[in-house]
């Protein structure tokens, strides 16, 4: 679906020889320049690839010849062993971690093959060894992973061997039967991966590589695990391992039951199917919205209602929550649920059901939108010309024609504003450029004329440069002068003006303040109530636990009693009674 946008980065390539520098041509090509020899080339100059080509060979030689005899059955030892002997040359390794994987090795130094990092693609629970999971990676490698101990080993631990063998034979048998099921696909896939891994490591002169190419792929997998490992660096391995675990864990978290029962195959088709399933789940939710309301979501219900928090308070608390999370009142309810960021808040559970929540949300959003609209009506309309003219003053020069100017700044917000027509924009631009050529005395006179035309009620000695009325700001005459000349001029003019004419006083401010204060106080009260309620819930829970423990202890006592009573040996009741007697 998403195409890879991988590009071999410069760091993934070899470092340039001294004297060479990398540049980008205007066409986008990269080229290399040597300042000393004044030489430029598109080809990447490189040192002869002798040194790096030896190393891997050496490496593999080392790993297959001079390996000391260690007991690899212990997984820990095995891991350490691989870390020590699977070390490729360190100086290239850094670059390769950038994403080229094991591709750039030996012969093809010049062009590292773009290869994504190895990823887990399929996990299978190992029957008989319950917490253990066998994880297959994209390159056909596999490792055993124990989610409870949080440990993973490339080298399959000895005790899991029989179970995995069994698993493999089962798989082969399935393949032989030619069942048209998922695991069949998976098996084929694995074969293909085998081929891929073999292709990816052509320089590995190991006997296992040949073996792997044969049909006995499945049975040779155990050794193959080691082979692939030897080639990865220590960091590499660790990385992938942790990576793998992360993925595995993530998978466990996100897609729960259906994938885990059978052999979960994460092939291309299956991922698509998974996505579809997830999509279906998602649409299912919408169907709920379409059809049967929201009863389906009532599992969110928390068991802690029934404690004293009045209905009104609960509703208000939930509204506070919506306010605090800055929920967009225009957004649909499904979005709120999907995002799920409000779930963790304790205020989410003050309302018992999702239906109630939705009702409150509806009420809240309606009120919020109303409030928004009211505010907008009160607010004066912002003139779209003001930002555009400010922008013009900043950017316009007589050197650019309008089409050039437009092309150059088409990404800027004032140039995209749909409120202002393109025609007007062009007109303003031409006018402005035309005026820039006029002498500054004319411009000053024009500005003065503009300022005089504004009535005293809006422009007076209390206004300053930042609070100029829109009448002034949206006029082309205001921006013609350079700000360094204009600002002192306008300031001087403003100081000469008289005070604003007296009008009706402002009495509304106090009442508003009071309202705000009151609502704040109420909110504090509600929050306190919620806290108390939570404390009460915790208390109740503790008490319940205690009771349960007490009951359990009593039950245990009773059981012991019964057991003792049942413990009647061959001699029958008599011995029991005599024993009792002897005790007393």
């Amino acid at each position: 679906m998403v195409k890879s946008t991988y590009q071999p980065s410069a760091s993934a390539l070899q470092p340039l020889p001294p004297g060479w520098t990398e540049h980008k041509a205007p066409t986008g090509h990269t080229y290399y320049h040597n300042a000393e020899t004044k030489e430029s080339t598109y080809k990447r100059p490189g040192v002869a690839p002798t040194a790096p080509s030896i190393n891997p060979a050496m490496n593999s030689f080392v790993q297959h010849q001079t390996v000391p005899q260690v007991n690899l059955s212990d997984p820990n030892v095995a891991n350490a062993f691989m870390a020590q002997y699977g070390q490729p040359p360190p100086h290239q390794q850094r670059g390769q971690r950038g994403g080229s994987g094991p591709g750039a090795r030996g012969g093809f130094q010049a062009r590292p093959r773009p290869q994504p990092v190895d990823k887990p693609r399929l996990k299978i629970p190992i029957p008989g060894a319950e917490p253990w999971i066998l994880v297959y990676t994209k390159y056909g490698r596999r490792f055993a992973y124990n989610p409870t101990k949080n440990a993973s080993y490339w080298r399959i631990p000895e005790k899991l061997m029989p179970a995995i063998l069994e698993l493999d034979t089962a798989r082969i048998r399935q393949k032989a039967e030619g069942k048209e099921i998922e695991s069949h696909n998976g098996g084929k896939d694995a074969d293909a991966q085998g081929g891929a891994t073999a292709a990816a490591r052509p320089s590995a002169p190991s006997p296992q590589a040949e073996e792997q190419a044969t049909h006995e792929y499945d049975s040779s997998e155990y050794e193959e695990v080691e082979v692939t490992d030897d080639e990865g660096a220590e960091g590499d391995e660790k990385n992938q391992e942790t990576d793998g675990e992360g993925h595995a864990r993530k998978r466990q978290r996100t897609e729960e039951p259906p994938a885990d029962t059978g052999p979960a195959e994460f092939t291309e088709a299956d991922i698509a199917a998974q996505l579809a399933a997830m999509g279906a789940g998602y649409y299912g939710k919408d169907d709920v919205a379409m059809g049967e309301g929201v009863e389906g979501e009532e599992e969110w219900e928390e068991g802690d209602e029934g404690l004293p928090l009045s209905d009104e308070d609960a509703r208000l608390l939930f509204k506070d929550l919506l306010n605090d999370f800055r929920i967009n009142p225009y957004s649909p309810w499904e979005k709120l649920i999907e995002e799920g960021k409000v779930f963790d808040d304790p205020r989410y559970s003050v309302l018992p059901t999702t239906r109630a929540r939705r009702e409150v949300w509806e009420e809240w959003s309606r009120a919020k939108i109303q409030e928004n609209n009211d505010r907008r009506v009160k607010e004066e309309k912002k003139d779209p010309r003001i930002p555009y003219l400010a922008f013009l003053q900043d950017k316009a020069t007589p050197k650019l024609y309008w089409p050039e100017f437009r092309r150059k700044y088409k990404r800027e917000a004032p140039m995209k504003d749909p409120k202002l027509h393109d025609r007007d924009r062009e007109r303003f631009y031409r006018e402005h450029i035309g005026r820039l050529k006029l002498p500054s005395t004319t411009l000053k006179a024009d500005l003065r004329k503009l300022l005089v035309s504004v009535p005293l009620s809006t422009l007076n000695n209390t206004t300053d440069l930042l609070t100029l009325p829109p009448q002034v700001l949206s006029d082309i005459r205001y921006i013609s002068l350079d700000p360094s000349i204009r600002d002192p001029f306008v300031e001087a003019y403003l100081q000469d003006l008289g005070p604003p004419p007296l009008a009706g006083g402002e009495g509304a401010g106090d009442g508003e303040d009071d309202a705000v204060k009151k609502s704040h106080g109420e909110r504090l009260k509600r929050e306190k109530a919620l806290e108390e309620r939570q404390r009460a819930v915790a208390e109740e829970k503790r008490r319940q636990e205690k009771r349960v423990q007490y009951e359990r202890a009593r039950l245990r006592d009773g059981e012991r009693e019964i057991e003792r009573a049942m413990h009647v040996d061959k001699k029958g009741l008599q011995s029991q009674l005599t024993g009792e007697l002897a005790k007393t």
Partner: protein, 148 residues
């Protein structure tokens, strides 16, 4: 198909569009994703379900904003309908009694079915058999009767 006008010749959307722009964009992206998802291994009749469902959601969103929350102006509502953000025909049905939750227009098109009946998703839950799980063929609806 109407001519696609360049941005410079387009009229700006009515006021209030900025408020809902983001959500509409999300719907638009979802729709694009759904359109670009390969449908190779999906049964043929299911291939268009996500399209229907997203279109339903978006129409419902616009409908609720205008008729229930009264959050957008008449001008903006008309503009949205004109620009294909909502299905006017579907909304017209939602205003009728008994069709308040209708999933798609195909599901009430009786002439397209063998026995001149509506889709199974129009059947109220109460009249279905116990635990009968329906999902309609045309849009994947699981039931859109008003009484559900």
């Amino acid at each position: 198909m109407p001519a696609i006008r360049p941005a410079s010749k387009r009229k700006p959307p009515p006021d209030g569009f900025e408020d809902i722009e983001e959500d509409l964009l999300i719907f638009g992206n979802k729709m694009k994703d759904a359109q670009n998802t390969p449908t190779d291994n999906i049964p043929k009749h299911q291939a268009q379900w996500p399209i229907f469902q997203i279109s339903h959601q978006r129409s419902r969103y616009v409908y609720e904003l205008y008729y229930e929350k009264e959050a957008i102006s008449k001008a903006l509502y008309d503009w949205l309908l004109k620009n294909g953000y909502a299905d006017a025909m579907l909304i017209a049905k939602w205003k009728k009694q008994g069709y308040e939750k209708l999933c798609c227009l195909r599901c009430i098109q009786t002439k397209e079915t063998n026995f001149n009946s509506t889709c199974v998703c129009r059947v109220p839950r109460a009249q279905l058999k116990e635990d009968q799980d329906v999902q309609c063929v045309s849009c994947g609806c699981r039931g859109c009767a008003s009484t559900d």
